[in-house]
């Protein structure tokens, strides 16, 4: 049947594992997709029913409605990817105490943004996107690129962190090589592909940019298209995107899929434990994709070396939380600027 869910007469009991998407879809090349893949795999492997729900309005009302819906359909586990669920979960976590929630990139908060303590049944996964970002930037420069680009979707903290990390990674690599690199930096203002982005990307490539880190759902489609047109390279994000295009050098990944898979398993193993978890290199939930075939200079052990330094925290990476609240992802804010000795950033606001 459609929407996953193998409907061999299980419909009566409804669906045990539920995913409620945010604006994105289960093919948005972003956390909705990663999470969904995990749900599917687990469901199919262990023959558990699962399905996803798409809200009709993208506000607390809409999300609440779908969660009610899912519970009504017998959901034991509900995966909620995205910051937008913070308030909804805060409202519902007591009401549905016997349902396990897996909240990605968010922690419960009331509508005035004040954090709310997650209850036992709510697992909140936060990721240190600065780390994979850092690794991507580092690898790109070590590979020999000196003209880099970063295209974020919308300036969400997650996206910003990828970007900040990317800059600092590039910077450190440049320091080691004793060179100076240029990075073009922008937020496209959307998560969808569009001629505009394709145009912008080819613009960059045409004025020398060698590799663009496409960081925001489906905008990568347009960036890939531009790269193919100009025979330049790209860097994927969130999940391993090497199959999406030949131009993908590597992907800066965060283990949404892994998290969801692990936690679902935990629920069925009775080991599920709520709380806020910040996942990073140490628990290798983040990193570059483990296929290095498209690199020419940069090698697996180079990677392992730098990964180690990131893991053991010997390199300090500035993240969105360390800079001024209303910098809105600006890469040229004081703190960051000082750190970037060997990178000249040109920011297209």
């Amino acid at each position: 049947g459609s929407n996953g869910g193998d409907s061999e007469g299980k419909d009566q009991e409804g669906y045990e594992i539920a995913l409620v998407t945010d604006q994105g879809t289960i093919s948005d090349k972003s956390f909705n997709q990663s999470a969904w893949e995990a749900v599917e795999e687990y469901g199919d492997k262990n023959d558990v029913t699962y399905k996803y729900y798409k809200p009709s309005s993208f506000d607390t009302a809409g999300y609440t409605q779908q969660i009610d819906n899912a519970v009504e359909n017998g959901a034991k586990i509900i995966v909620c990817p995205g910051y937008k669920f913070a308030t909804t979960i805060a409202n519902l976590q007591e009401k549905y105490a016997d349902v396990s929630f897996i909240l990605i990139d968010a922690t419960p908060a009331d509508e005035k943004e004040n954090a709310v303590e997650p209850t036992e049944n709510v697992y909140c996964a936060l990721y240190k996107e600065v780390q994979p970002g850092y690794l991507a930037g580092y690898a790109a420069v070590k590979e020999g690129y000196t003209k880099l680009g970063f295209m974020g979707g919308i300036a969400l903290p997650a996206v910003i962190n990828y970007g900040y990390g990317y800059l600092q990674g590039a910077n450190d690599a440049a320091k080691e090589l004793g060179i100076n690199v240029e990075v073009k930096y922008t937020y496209t203002g959307t998560f969808n592909e569009s001629p505009d982005i394709q145009s912008k990307a080819s613009g960059w490539y045409n004025t020398g940019t060698e590799v663009i880190f496409a960081c925001g759902g489906q905008i990568c489609n347009s960036v890939f298209a531009a790269a193919e047109q100009t025979n330049k390279m790209t860097i994927g994000v969130d999940s391993d995107q090497k199959d999406a295009s030949q131009t993908v050098l590597t992907s800066a990944m965060k283990g949404v899929k892994k998290t969801v898979a692990d936690e679902i398993a935990a629920v069925y193993a009775g080991e599920f434990k709520g709380g806020v978890y910040t996942l990073d290199a140490s628990s290798d939930y983040v990193g570059l994709s483990d296929d290095f075939s498209r690199f020419k200079k940069f090698t697996k052990n180079d990677y392992d070396k730098v990964f180690e330094t990131v893991k053991n925290g010997s390199v300090k990476i500035i993240s969105n939380d360390d800079v001024d609240e209303n910098a809105q992802g600006d890469p040229s804010t004081k703190v960051l600027k000082d750190a970037l000795t060997n990178v000249t950033v040109s920011y297209e606001k």
């Binding site: 419909d11 729900y53 409605q65 779908q66 819906n69 998560f191 209303n326 809105q328």
Partner: protein
Amino acid sequence: MKNKILLLLKKEGSKSFVSSLIAIALGLLFGFVIILIANPGDALEGLKLLLTGGFYRGAKSLGQVFYLAVPIMMTGLSVAFAFKCGEFNIGTPGQYIMGAFTAVFVALKCDFIPNSILWIVCIIAAGLAGALWAIIPGVLKAYRNVNVVISCIMCNYIGMLLVIEGIKATIYNPTGAESYSVPAEKAIPAFGLDKIFPDSNINFGIVIAILLCILAYIIMNKTTFGYELKACGYNPDAAKYAGMNEKKCIILSMAIAGFFSGVGGAIAYLSGTGKTLPISEVLPAEGFNGIPVALLGFNNPIGCIFAALFIGYINVGGNYMQSLNIAIEVIDIIVASIIYFSSFTLFIKMIFNKYKNKKQKSIEGGHES
């Protein structure tokens, strides 16, 4: 008996009503067939959900229907109103988003206004913003003869881009890369409606919307002003000959239409349901969805009320249908086909008339013999 039917069919209004019922029936049938092909197993169950959806969880769902209906009711009214005045206002998305932004901005920034009246101020401000955004095409049409459709399309994009900048500059919430939402205490109060429709998101906005529709109806059909507007819509030259100011008419009708869209935006974002303005470069669907509403309502302000409620209703139903592996898009498919079939109205009416005439003849014939 037969004559009763005839009398009923004679009435234009009831004719339209009957033919739109037929359209709805056809549309649902079509939707059903689609579901049947996609997913035979659950088709019947799905249809049931779709039809009962609005009551599926009793008053709560019904409240949801109202909640979903309000914005499109306003944009629909906006389109219908301009339409009666001879303009095709396809600029509702721009006017809607302008209104929405203004409302949220005022709500969050103008702390000096007491909450008790804040929402009223917001709604009025939003309406004015929408009106302003509709006046631009109006003026261009009146003084430079610029085609309203195209200037509206341009204004949509301009409005969207400006709003994005506005959000970033004023009410930007970095954690979500979007605007802050309007907190419940500043939202439109429910005045007890929430008691009638427990834990739904209904609020007084629905009442305002319906009142505005009625107001629009009165303006259109009962006042000299409406008489002027329609005259300008039908025949500007004659309007001029009659001493009306056709420029004024065009601009005013657009302004009023824009006002309605703006109010729609305000009510939607003042609902205290954590609705936030995105900074992504897409036009708000509620804007364009006004067109179907207007058409389904025969461009009649009162018709818009029912059209919007109907669409809201089957949207709620369709939502529950997701539980049955039926993609949510089926709702739009059904609405679309209903609108399409509603274009058969003329045709259906014609059949009525044929039928009517035949009957009458036979009756008269009967008398003679």
